[in-house]
């Protein structure tokens, strides 16, 4: 049984249904990429897993989220709070503002382990110093005393990762952890996260819109489009043999070295608005292979020769 198993969850916020039948699972020592354009429901999926949906006024109307054999949907807030940080930790998008500006870095990491592991202040500090060193930040003791404004963006992101690791969680949900960083730092951070997953046998759910990051780090990929799963497969298969036209388009959009200037193309059209999703397959207005059936009938998420995909026309 997988560590986290999300079974066809649907979400409604007011009249809107931003997620429909999202399904995936993650095992220990595995990195699952969650990709898609803005508005496809990536962050919302993360919020479902963290049980944070009520904060933005959303409800899960259908499906189940099973973490370590336990159903998360319907769990009272107090139970969820015990899971957050201790078993499931979230790394948020923006490291620049994810740290409290008036509390020293060290104290912020310490408080996670004192809260969840009940460590004494000394033990928590020793643990934090250890974590800072593991994330390859020089001079842990000096950093432990420093304030957030004294650190660079890359260092702050590592501190945010250290905070997420402080209570030894089993699953880390990283919501675009490298979006705000420049490319070289981005590669380092991804490298560190990959190593952490292997060393500590964590499970990592990596939310990104960067197919390059996916290729570098992930084992398996879930491609979301307009609140539905378009395709799920291993990274090798997704890149070698994409089953869904949307995945093919995404891969075509990755810039390549030596590419003709001006030949890089986006996907024509835009993600449909949530108030006005097209009938049938939601990708049909932008799909070059769309037929009559795509406009009338929602494609089922089916097992293909490898992985699963939701397209009428991919081979079985």
């Amino acid at each position: 049984m997988a560590l986290l198993s999300v079974q066809s969850i649907s979400v409604s916020i007011g009249q809107l249904n931003p997620l429909e039948g999202v399904t995936f699972d993650i095992d220990k020592r595995e990195i699952l990429g969650l990709v898609g354009e803005s508005g496809s429901g990536k962050s919302l999926t993360a919020m479902c897993v963290m049980g944070l949906l009520p904060r933005i006024g959303g409800t899960i109307t259908n499906g189940s989220i099973i973490f370590d054999g336990r159903e998360l949907i319907g769990l009272p807030e107090i139970e969820l709070r015990r899971l957050r940080g201790k078993r499931i930790a979230l790394i948020s998008q923006n490291p620049m503002t994810s740290l409290d500006p008036i509390i020293p870095i060290g104290a912020q990491i310490d408080q996670v382990s004192t809260l969840h592991l009940g460590l004494s202040p000394e033990a928590a500090k020793a643990r934090s110093l250890d974590l800072i060193a593991q994330l390859r930040i020089p001079e842990p003791a000096a950093i432990h005393r420093a304030y957030p404004h004294q650190l660079s963006g890359g260092m702050k992101q590592r501190i945010v990762i250290a905070m997420a690791l402080a209570a030894d969680p089993d699953l880390i949900v990283a919501d675009e952890p490298t979006t705000a960083l420049d490319v070289t730092i981005q590669a380092q951070i991804i490298q560190i996260m990959v190593e952490l997953v292997r060393d500590r046998s964590l499970a990592l759910m990596l939310i990104t819109h960067d197919m390059g990051v996916v290729a570098q780090a992930c084992d398996r990929v879930v491609v979301l489009y307009a609140g539905r799963v378009a395709e799920m497969n291993t990274v090798g298969e997704v890149f070698a043999n994409p089953k869904h036209p949307y995945t093919r388009e995404l891969i075509r959009c990755i810039p390549r070295l030596g590419q003709e200037p001006g030949s890089l193309k986006g996907i024509p059209g835009a993600v449909p608005s949530i108030v006005d999703y097209p009938d049938g397959c939601r990708f049909n207005p932008r799909c070059s292979e769309a037929q009559e059936i795509c406009r009338g009938q929602v494609p089922a998420l089916e097992r293909k020769s490898s992985g699963i995909a939701a397209c009428h026309f991919s081979e079985v």
């Binding site: 957050r84 503002t97 969840h116």
Partner: protein, 281 residues
């Protein structure tokens, strides 16, 4: 890296330095009144009443022959204790109310905001007078009245601060790591919102001294023979043509103290660079 110390920066500016010195002097008077005052504040000497300022009585004597300077020095006690205590209570209550209202929202926020806006629309003196009319005069009631009269200001300021802060990513990030409401409010939100509220509290202390003096002037504050600057001015009105110093010196004491508080507050605002935060009041 040099530590940033706004108080030190404020004291180094000319007006901050002078006003800080005056405030220290006033506080010393209040603290060490029995040592500094040349006479007891309540010894009457009727033959020597309404005496001109002289070497023996630097500020003259009042209508009962009591040494005016000694009474002003002891009066600093009343004024400062009442103002500082009242504003401290008000700040603490305002911080708590404002933070809870902003953080939890919903009906609680609406109720707090409604009451606060209602009291906010009346001048502080009116609210204080109404309250004292209900609970009766005396030092204790003046403190209660002043702290309630200023509550709206601190609640509004804190609420505005917390409203802006609670959507910060680091608050969200702490929530995502499992922190509870108590931890978020007291460890993350309030410390970040504190500075402007403290400075507003300091400036309000000056206003509170005037309010205390006004209530004392109406005879609603400290009861005789306890000296209070406002009550002393009030008793001086009857003697204004024969012994003007009885009303002038307590008035000067109030003016100098309040001006110093405001100047120091301004210097502090400048060194903290929080003009924009206070504008919301």
């Amino acid at each position: 890296m040099a530590a940033f110390d706004p108080i030190k920066t404020a004291i180094r500016s000319p007006r901050g330095g002078v006003s800080a010195a005056v405030l220290l002097l006033v506080m010393a008077c209040a603290l060490f009144a029995p040592l500094i005052a040349p006479y007891a504040y309540d010894i009457q000497n009727l033959p020597g009443s309404n005496a001109d300022p002289s070497v023996a009585h630097w500020m003259g004597t009042d209508e009962f022959g009591r040494d005016l300077m000694s009474r002003i020095i002891y009066g600093a006690r009343t004024s400062l204790t009442v103002a500082v205590t009242a504003i401290s209570i008000s700040v603490v209550a305002g911080l708590t109310l404002g933070a809870m209202a902003a953080y939890f929202g919903g009906w609680f926020d609406r109720a707090v905001t409604a009451v606060v806006d209602l009291t906010w629309s009346f001048p502080e003196i009116l609210i204080a007078l109404i309250l004292i009319a209900i609970i009766g005069p005396g030092v204790g009631s003046v403190m209660v009245a002043i702290s309630i009269a200023y509550l709206a200001q601190f609640t509004r300021l804190t609420r505005a601060q917390i409203m802006a802060l609670k959507n910060e990513t680091y608050v969200e990030a702490t929530t995502n790591l499992g922190a509870g409401h108590f931890h978020i409010i007291f460890r993350h939100l309030l410390p970040n919102a504190l500075t402007p509220v403290i400075v507003a509290g300091m400036l309000a202390t000056g206003d509170a001294i005037i309010l205390e003096a006004t209530l004392g002037f109406f005879g609603l504050g400290a009861q005789p023979p306890t000296p209070s600057w406002g009550a002393m001015m009030s008793s001086g009105t009857a003697q204004i043509f024969i012994a003007p110093w009885i009303i002038i010196f307590p008035g000067l004491a109030i003016a100098i103290t309040v001006i110093s508080i405001n100047l120091f507050g301004d210097a502090l605002i400048e060194s903290l660079d929080i003009h924009n935060h206070l504008r919301s009041v």
